[in-house]
């Protein structure tokens, strides 16, 4: 038998009130081991209060080659931002 341990992505919440953030990846045989390894590899100095692990193969990522059609349309929609609208200087609370 020669099977490599699968790759896992690790997400850590550094403290309550903050979202889980991607910290990195690691190898582990199963989810439980991935959590235990993540604790040792990524939170040796109290960096987290909660860990998520997900097998890397379950993540679908966008392709950078499609960045144009995905993200560029937002660039010419300045009217989605508050600064697009002209208001008198002396108006308050807006």
């Amino acid at each position: 038998m020669n099977k490599d341990w699968p790759l896992w992505e690790v997400f850590v919440r550094s403290k309550n009130g903050l979202e889980h953030r991607h910290f990195g990846s690691l190898r582990a045989a199963d989810a439980e081991m991935a959590i235990n390894n993540a604790r040792d590899v990524y939170t040796r100095r109290s960096e987290g209060v909660s860990i998520w692990v997900v097998e890397s193969k379950n993540i679908t990522a966008s392709n950078p080659e499609h960045n144009g059609e995905l993200f560029e349309p937002a660039a010419d929609k300045a009217y989605r931002h508050p600064t697009f609208y002209d208001l008198p200087d002396d108006i308050e609370h807006m």
Binding site: M1, L7, A29, P64
Partner: protein, 327 residues
């Protein structure tokens, strides 16, 4: 004819991709794993990041040698934590390297077969407890000088791993210096032990910063890719300039008769480095090369049944879950 045109078209495309790529780096934008990159960029990064990872992993061995013999509990927990950090650094770097399309097994295989190198300094033996002080102070000191600029390198996963590594590394150097300090304030014998460790680790630490600029084959390309921000000689000079005053505070003598502060340049002049020794160690003829590789190989081979058992257990658990769901 048609083929020829196709090839030309392809070449043109690659060229324009390369231009976009170079411009991105020039603007200090990061390259991420799925972005297009020249094959040479990928290969160079696999080489450097995996060597860096291997150095962290092999680097645990000379220090692991002293964990059970640390002189106090305080020293023991610190050394354990340092060695554990090095394991962690190796793991950050292996996974950063994997994003470039090389598998972890392949990297291990390259280390074990000698195809991939690791820092030559770990092929020197750790003879006394003072070596734990000298390694932390000098070897980690030189490593920090090497690593800090890498936090800004162009490849995103490498840069992110290095930020974490650098954050954790500074305790390593401080714990080493504290060991030296304690020995230097101790008995005559302890002070001699500290001096002996400095004598043995000084030159290898200077060599650790790599061959001189005119001998270094990768420097120019690496500077362009921001994989390097300063040349080996610049880094070496910086290391010497900051370390000499630290030795003075300890009351120790740097083992270099030519070492002298140069008022004109504002830097220390230093003696000739024995590059013959450096290349001998790189080529595998250092004092501990064989021992280090065989320790890694044994760990990998003797641990195989544990890795296999973990996979078998995971598969069994998954099957049970599937059956439960089906019922």
């Amino acid at each position: 004819m048609k083929n020829n045109e196709n090839m030309k078209e392809q070449e043109k495309q690659t060229k324009s991709l390369e231009e976009v790529f170079e411009a991105k780096i020039a603007r200090d934008e990061k390259i991420e794993p799925k972005d297009w990159m020249p094959e040479k960029y990928r290969k160079t990064h696999i080489r450097q990041i995996s060597q860096h990872a291997h150095s962290e992993i092999v680097g645990m061995l000379p220090e692991g040698n002293w964990i059970t013999r640390a002189p106090s509990l305080r020293r023991k927990v610190a050394l354990l934590a340092k060695v554990q950090d090095e394991a962690g650094h190796g793991l950050y770097l292996y996974s950063a390297c994997e994003t470039l399309g090389i598998s972890r097994e392949e990297m291990y295989e390259q280390l074990h077969s000698g195809k991939a190198k690791y820092s030559s300094i770990f092929n020197y033996p750790t003879l006394t407890w003072a070596d734990m002080g000298a390694i932390g102070w000098l070897v980690d000191g030189a490593a920090i000088i090497n690593q800090v600029p890498l936090c800004n390198t162009s490849f995103g996963p490498y840069a992110r791993a290095m930020v974490r590594v650098c954050k954790e590394e500074s305790f390593h150097q401080r714990q080493g210096y504290e060991i030296m300090m304690t020995l230097c304030n101790g008995t005559q014998e302890q002070k001699e032990m500290a001096q002996d460790a400095l004598n043995r680790w000084w030159w290898p630490s200077l060599m650790m910063l790599g061959p001189t600029d005119d001998e270094s084959t990768h420097t120019e390309q690496s500077m362009k890719w921001k994989l390097k921000r300063k040349t080996n000689d610049e880094l070496r000079q910086q290391f010497i300039d900051q370390t000499v005053p630290q030795a003075d505070i300890l009351g120790l003598t740097i083992p270099d008769a030519d070492l002298k502060y140069n008022n004109d340049t504002g830097h220390y002049d230093f003696g000739e480095i024995d590059w013959e020794e450096f290349w001998q160690v790189v080529k595998g003829h250092g004092m501990c090369n064989k021992e280090r590789i065989s320790a890694r190989k044994n760990a990998w081979e003797n641990g195989k049944w544990v890795r296999d058992a973990a996979v078998a257990y995971a598969e069994k658990q998954a099957e049970k879950q599937a059956v439960k769901k089906a019922v």
